[in-house]
């Protein structure tokens, strides 16, 4: 029996697409949810802020997309291990907290030597963290090689500016 050409071609098209669909099922399957505003109570302790800040750092804040912690070698963005200690010496005239705050709200103001500009202001879209969420990220950054000091009552130059 002679199989009609259109039928053969249809089978070939279906098999080819089926193969690529199969390849698509073989790779890791990850569904990314849209980030939600993190509800933070006013009375959370600094230790709890560190935990919340870590979650934001790795998730909604997208910080870990670019920054590493404890990695050496050819890096595209500064590694953040020990940043709590380094922050005090990084920029003359700025305290460790002020330096971290400026890095988050106005990252283009100072670029760490050896690296290129490229970090977005995380208080603005597309990341768009709230001032409260940024306070928790600050607590987490202070915990990297230091002792976190910020509380939910901490107010800095950029607070409430967005």
């Amino acid at each position: 029996m002679r199989i009609p050409v259109p039928l053969k071609l249809a089978v070939l098209a279906i098999l080819t697409t089926a193969f690529y669909t199969y390849v698509g099922q073989m790779v890791p399957q990850k569904m990314v949810e849209a980030p939600q505003v993190v509800e933070i109570a006013e009375d959370v302790s600094t230790a709890e802020m560190v935990e919340i800040g870590k979650t934001i750092f790795e998730g909604k804040g997208m910080c870990s997309t670019c920054h590493t912690i404890g990695k050496t070698g050819a890096l595209r963005f500064p590694d953040l291990a020990g940043i709590a200690t380094r922050a005090a010496q990084e920029r003359e005239g700025l305290s460790a907290l002020d330096y971290l705050v400026e890095s988050l709200y106005e990252p283009e103001a100072y670029i760490v030597p050896g690296f290129n500009a490229g970090m977005p202001a995380i208080g603005k879209p597309p990341i768009g963290l709230t001032d409260q969420e940024i306070l928790t990220v600050l607590a987490y950054l202070q915990s990297l090689g230091g002792t976190p000091e910020v509380t939910m009552e901490t107010r800095h130059t950029y607070y409430g500016t967005d």
């Binding site: 070939l12 098209a13 279906i14 690529y20 669909t21 790779v27 849209a34 997208m62």
Partner: protein, 620 residues
């Protein structure tokens, strides 16, 4: 009684009887519904159920009258959801649009070659390509209108925002669309009716207008990824700045090249279908040639496509580093492994077709021994390109490897290795083309030996330089390593241009070993052409997804947030399923286009009694 016609009639009768029986039963059950014995006179027909329904309707009517007007933010599409319906329609619109924009480009070039060379075969070929356009143009417009309606219905507020930014571009778009229809139909129906130069002028107009339409539409979609010309609040500052956003020109260039590659592959698929259905050697020879030209166009356009892709990626990084990193290292990084599988298959398919095609060229046997080396190089590059940086592994496997990267193969998963692999892949395919081109000819120029040596030296030099930079990339910092992709790409481009120029002069006045036996090629080659077309289409679907999906939970990145239930990024598995469905719908429709175009080759219908010989046998 056993006749199929009797069975069909009986089946229909039984069906009608069953349907009538069911209707009667339902009617009986409704008629015998319980009615209150104490119902007042004149309301005896009203059952409690009917009363309940009437009350419900009245309440709904009252509620509708009291409701205040509120602008809808989103509306939902049933079952498959708003995103999927817009996704499929947009992709189908784009596939047909790409085809309609691409075919006139190479039809115009082929027609011009025919006019200036005086060879009527080229004119016939250009006309044959153009025949595919008319129906495809209608389908493009239909899907465009369908998609627009769906967007306005399902995403009214977001579309209102796009109208706010881009309203000045809509009138030129519509006017250009009219001009496109004018040029397309005049070009098609005016074939052979005007002076060739006038006709070529129509073809040029068609291409210019088509490209302008695409540029306008590209402004809308690129703005969504890399918005410009608007304030942080989204308020419009400048429409022109919104049009000329970061990714607009890279997408324009990328799409022109990709459209030509895609259009060539679909036209080659049409030729393959005609070749496989052909009844005579003459037809087979013609469609073999047409398939070769279509594939040639596709591959020539395909070779520089990765470079256009680099530029686009660079602009995405320049617009927003986080967006670029998200694309290459975040949620979409594995998509590029799927892309590598597709592109690897395209290269393998294209080379295999060329090697099969060498069988119809007398004298090409002398190059057969090189093919195995090319195959090894292509297969090795394909494998490197498709190697992921981190692999899926169990906890014990991760422990054994000391991380999610394989201790040895993990080194092949980084950009240094992948950039090197893709550049060597391009160079190897270029060599296949060169061997094919050289197959039936022997250079007669005095400097032939030196010319060959020079070509080989350029090829070897470029390959070595690409590999050297690839290896050096492992030893330098990231910024320097990223910078290496430019000289890698540059050396490959320079090598291809230089070798082609030498080849043109080398083959001037060359001796032909024999005539190419068009049509004398294995039918497998035609299935390869279909495979290439399906793969190209699938690749376009996949890359369309990443271009759009990259925005994640934003309609306009960083400006208008997606608050709909579809604001999540689906899994790659789901995305590939949608792409596959879209590709199959496209091929069902393009098959319809092929069939419609083929009808033109058939004779007019005549009653059975008037048919003679083979015509009667075919009808039987």
């Amino acid at each position: 009684m056993n006749s199929p016609a009797v069975k069909i009639v009986l089946g229909l009768l039984v069906g009608i009887v069953l349907l009538a029986g069911t209707a009667k039963l339902v009617s009986y059950l409704i008629e015998t519904e319980y009615r209150s014995p104490s119902a007042p006179r004149g309301t005896a027909e009203s059952t409690p159920r009917q009363q309940g329904l009437a009350d419900e309707e009245a309440a709904a009517d009252q509620a509708a009258r009291e409701r205040t007007y509120e602008e809808e933010t989103y509306r939902a599409f049933p079952i498959i959801g708003s995103r999927v319906v817009v996704w499929v329609l947009a992709q189908l619109h784009l596939l047909f649009a790409a085809f309609v924009l691409a075919v006139p480009i190479f039809a115009f070039i082929i027609e011009a070659i025919g006019y200036f060379s005086g060879d009527p075969r080229y004119d016939k070929l250009a006309y044959e390509f153009t025949k595919l356009l008319s129906v495809s143009f209608s389908l493009t417009a239909t899907f465009g209108a369908f998609m627009t309606f769906m967007l306005v219905i399902l995403y009214p507020q977001f579309m209102n925002y796009l109208f706010h930014v881009f309203s000045p571009t809509f009138l030129p778009y519509v006017l250009l669309f009219f001009a496109e229809a004018f040029f397309l139909y005049t070009y098609y129906y005016g074939w052979g009716k005007f002076h060739p130069l006038v006709h070529l002028g129509l073809g040029l107009g068609l291409n210019l207008v088509g490209t302008a339409i695409m540029f306008i539409a590209n402004a809308w979609l690129t703005f969504m990824t890399s918005p410009a010309g608007v304030a942080e609040s989204g308020a419009l500052i400048s429409t022109w700045e919104a049009v000329t956003n970061y990714t607009w020109m890279p997408i324009n260039v990328h799409r022109i090249i990709a459209n030509v590659a895609f259009g060539g592959s679909v036209a080659a698929a049409y030729a393959a279908y005609k070749f496989l259905s052909a009844d005579s050697d003459e037809e087979r020879a013609h469609y073999d040639w047409m398939g070769y030209i279509g594939n040639f166009v596709a591959i020539i356009a395909f070779l520089p496509l990765p470079f256009a892709g680099y530029w686009l990626a660079k602009e995405i990084y320049a617009f927003n580093q986080a967006l670029g990193i998200q694309m290459m290292g975040g949620a979409f990084s594995w998509l590029f492994i799927i892309q590598a599988v597709l592109i690897g298959n395209l290269f393998l398919g294209a080379n295999y077709y060329l090697w099969l095609g060498m069988g119809r060229i007398p004298g090409s046997e002398r190059f057969q021994s090189y093919i195995k080396y090319l195959l090894i190089a292509i297969a090795a590059c394909f494998a490197i390109w498709a190697t992921p940086r981190s692999i899926l592994a169990t906890v014990s496997e991760v422990r054994a490897m000391g991380g999610s990267s394989h201790p040895a193969l993990g080194f092949l998963g980084v950009m240094s290795a992948k950039n090197t692999a893709v550049n060597i892949l391009i160079l190897s395919t270029f060599v296949s083309f060169l061997l094919y081109r050289r197959g039936g000819r022997i250079p007669t120029v005095a400097w032939a030996k030196a010319g060959n040596f020079l070509q080989f030296a350029i090829f070897a030099g470029a390959s070595s330089y690409v590999i050297y930079l690839g290896l050096k990339g492992y030893l330098v910092d990231a910024a320097t390593r990223i910078g290496y992709s430019v000289p890698q790409v540059g050396s490959v481009l320079i090598a291809m241009v230089a070798i082609t120029i030498i080849d043109l002069f080398l083959l001037r006045g060359s001796r032909a070993v024999g005539e190419t036996a068009w049509g004398k090629i294995s039918p497998i080659s035609q299935y390869v052409l279909i495979f290439i077309a399906v793969t190209f289409t699938w690749l376009m679907g996949l890359m369309g997804y990443v271009r759009s999906g990259l925005r994640q939970h934003w309609h306009v990145y960083g400006v208008v947030r997606d608050m709909s239930p579809d604001a999540f990024t689906p899994t790659l598995g789901f995305a590939t399923q949608v792409v596959s469905v879209t590709v199959l719908i496209f091929f069902a429709l393009i098959g319809f286009v092929f069939w419609l175009v083929s009808l033109g080759d058939k004779g007019k219908w005549r009653p059975k009694s008037e048919r003679v010989g083979p015509e009667r046998a075919e009808a039987a």
